[in-house]
Amino acid sequence: MEDLKNIIAGCRVNDRKSQEKLYKQFYPAFFALCKTFFSDNHDILTALNNGMLKIFRNIGQYDPSRGEFFNWCYTIIRNAALTLVRDKRANLTVELKDDLNVYTTINPFRQFEWKDIYVYLDKLPAGTRAVCSLFYLEGYNIREIGEALELKDGTVKWHLNECRNKLKVIFEQSPIIERSA
């Protein structure tokens, strides 16, 4: 972690080498994070680099006493990804059905590896994918998802239900779920 301190100090003075080190060190994690929201690599990279730019701009505001640096960055990247999701919100504004409550009982992704998660997420529509990722992978509750994506709770629930229904079909057809079972 001593090295990370130096990298942070370098980033504070806008040093490219330090920024490069930080970027490359966190890149796999943040790419994986962004990939839970987007299937397209271009969108992933856009979200990731938007977030990294925010990090580099505001790294002077990072206070070690308030938490881990990685978590601070992670939050910024996720918010950057959500911003991009909102910008692409065409598929999010789906009519809601407010009677769906089965989404919290099982996390369908817990037992899978990243590559499997992506396989399933790629089969979901973009809006549903974002809601699903926030709910099952990021631990957001419905209200928080609604705030993050500027959706009504009912819409979030609809997406979660949609996610469940689609995944159920997918799981039934998938050799992966058979192995897991």
């Binding site: 490219r16 730019l53 990021e138």
Partner: protein, 522 residues
């Protein structure tokens, strides 16, 4: 959050899948955006330009000192050449049975002004300090004339140890205002015997010049020390203290300890007998005495020779170690914190290594190597920025990256001058290469400078902040010390001539101080 555990996982250490985009390509895109939106203000890189002058001056000083040493060495070797090889000199080496009459030798010696700038005996006499007993003067002249060299001019003298068998051991030519034959055993311990010193003082001599006026100073401690010889303090073996020149341009007995050990006590049974009470003599009378002494040479045993062993540049070279204790001039915080951020109290136990070359009793050139040199800056700001405390706290704060201390390798060259007594003063230059540093990143409230947070960081050459640290810096060093036996206790002040920082950060030339203990091993 409906599932906090998802956030508490060690996310950074997870095994992530290979990204779909190569990291280099991703960084290239990021780099381009950074160049557009956060262009880098070019930082002046520390390079040769920044340290060529201090480094050049230091190297030049070393070269000049080396040349001086070499020239001096040649001079010494020339003068101390075995007399058997010198055609212009009387052949009085061991095994030579050639005899000269006293009259003939005296005549020859008196008239000698050869091409090698040898001087007349009369001239030699001029520089012999009066007040010595006849025996001493005789032997002094014996050594001079017997060896057949000496005295290029009034500023040169021959020193060495005249052994009981007539061999001049360890000859060395030195600058002097008087003729001195010095016991070369400078590293023997002075005798801390007040009674002996007092007795010695009573027998001090008063040198006088040609006009009969007092010249110079009395030969009294601390101009001279009483030494116990090389018996390791075993008084039973050599109970008599031996006077030895410490500062001196005056005649001092020589080789007494060895003579006594070898049973050659005929020359000097009583070391104090060589120092009779002060006695004024006219220069004429002195010269007469010297010439009389010179005449006695003719009856010499013919065994005089020059022993060049240990002669030359390696004479009068000493070495040892020095421990420094930093003075908290730049504050007591982190006084013993190392560049890695941890406590390094043991650092003061790591000594500097020094080596000296003496010229005469007063002049000394000291070369010091310190592999663990440390320099304190207090808290020198390297880079600073102003902003809000955090995204949710709009308090205006200043974030500083500062330098606390620097660690590296240093070389120093100092001239030391031995004052009367045991005091020494010195001055010189030191160049320190910086290899690591201790820094601090701290956040202070802009309104009242209250420190909100701070953490120590280790800065090395891979760190970005290293761009703000000069590769090396030149320091003027002044010191004073008091010697006691083989140790010297003193204090020094270090004043940077060049800045410890570079790369556009504010200049940093903080004064450091230290107390030192210097130990002479040889």
């Amino acid at each position: 959050m409906h599932d906090e555990n998802l956030h508490n996982e060690p996310l950074l250490n997870k095994s992530y899948p290979d990204p779909g985009i190569n990291v280099e390509n991703a960084w290239a895109d990021m780099h381009a955006r950074l160049d557009d939106e956060m262009p880098v203000v070019k930082v002046k890189k520390p390079g040769w330009k920044n340290w060529k002058w201090p480094g050049g001056i230091f190297i030049l000083g070393l070269i000049i000192a080396t040349i001086w040493l070499v020239v001096k060495q040649k001079e010494v070797l020339n003068i101390s050449m075995p007399i058997e090889k010198r055609a212009d000199l009387p052949n009085v080496s061991s095994g030579n049975n050639q005899k000269e009459t006293a009259e003939a030798k005296n005549t020859r010696v008196k008239g000698r002004t050869d091409s090698e700038n040898l001087v007349k005996v009369d001239s030699v006499a001029t520089f012999v300090q009066p007040g010595n007993s006849a025996n001493n003067i005789t032997r002094l002249v014996d050594s001079n004339l017997g060896v057949g060299i000496l005295k290029q001019d009034s500023t040169t003298r021959l020193v060495g140890t005249l052994k009981g068998n007539g061999v001049l051991d360890n000859p060395d030519l030195r600058k002097s205002t008087g003729l001195t034959l010095v016991n070369k055993k400078r590293n023997v311990n002075p005798v801390n015997d007040k009674a002996a010193i007092k007795s010695f003082e009573k027998k001090a001599i008063v040198p006088i010049d040609k006009k009969g006026k007092k010249q110079g100073q009395y030969l009294t401690p601390p101009s001279a020390f009483l030494v116990a010889g090389d018996k390791g303090g075993n008084k039973n073996k050599n109970p008599d203290p031996v006077p030895i020149a410490a500062e001196a341009d005056y005649f001092i007995p020589y080789g007494l300890d060895k003579d006594i050990a070898a049973g050659n006590t005929a020359l000097m049974n009583d070391p104090f007998s060589q120092f009779p009470k002060a006695e004024k003599k006219s220069q004429t009378r002195i010269n007469e005495e010297l010439l009389d002494s010179a005449k006695k040479i003719s009856g010499g045993n013919g065994k005089l020779s020059v022993n060049t062993k240990n002669a030359g540049i390696f004479k009068d070279i000493h070495y040892g170690a020095q421990w420094n204790i930093p003075l908290p001039i730049q504050g007591t915080d982190n006084l013993f914190t190392g560049a890695s951020g941890g406590s390094q109290v043991y650092g003061i136990l790591i000594p500097q290594i020094w080596i000296t070359k003496n010229w005469g009793a007063k002049h000394e050139l000291r070369f010091v190597v310190d592999a663990f040199a440390k320099y304190y800056l207090g808290s020198q700001t390297l880079a600073s920025s102003t902003g809000t405390y955090s995204g949710t706290d709009s308090t205006l704060v200043i974030r500083d990256s500062s330098l606390i201390n620097s660690q590296g390798f240093s070389l120093a060259l100092l001239y030391n001058h031995h004052l009367a007594g045991r005091w020494t003063i010195g001055a010189g230059l030191q160049y320190q290469w910086q290899s690591k540093a201790l820094g601090e990143i701290k956040t202070v409230r802009a309104s009242d400078q209250a420190k909100l947070s701070g953490e120590l960081i280790s800065i090395d050459k891979s760190s970005t902040l290293w761009n703000y640290i000069a590769p090396g810096f030149l320091v003027g060093r002044v010191e004073a010390g008091y010697s006691f036996r083989n140790a010297t206790l003193g204090a020094g002040v270090l004043i940077p001539v060049t800045s410890l920082t570079s790369g556009g950060s504010p200049k940093a030339q903080p004064i450091n101080g230290q107390v030192f203990i210097r130990w002479r091993i040889h």
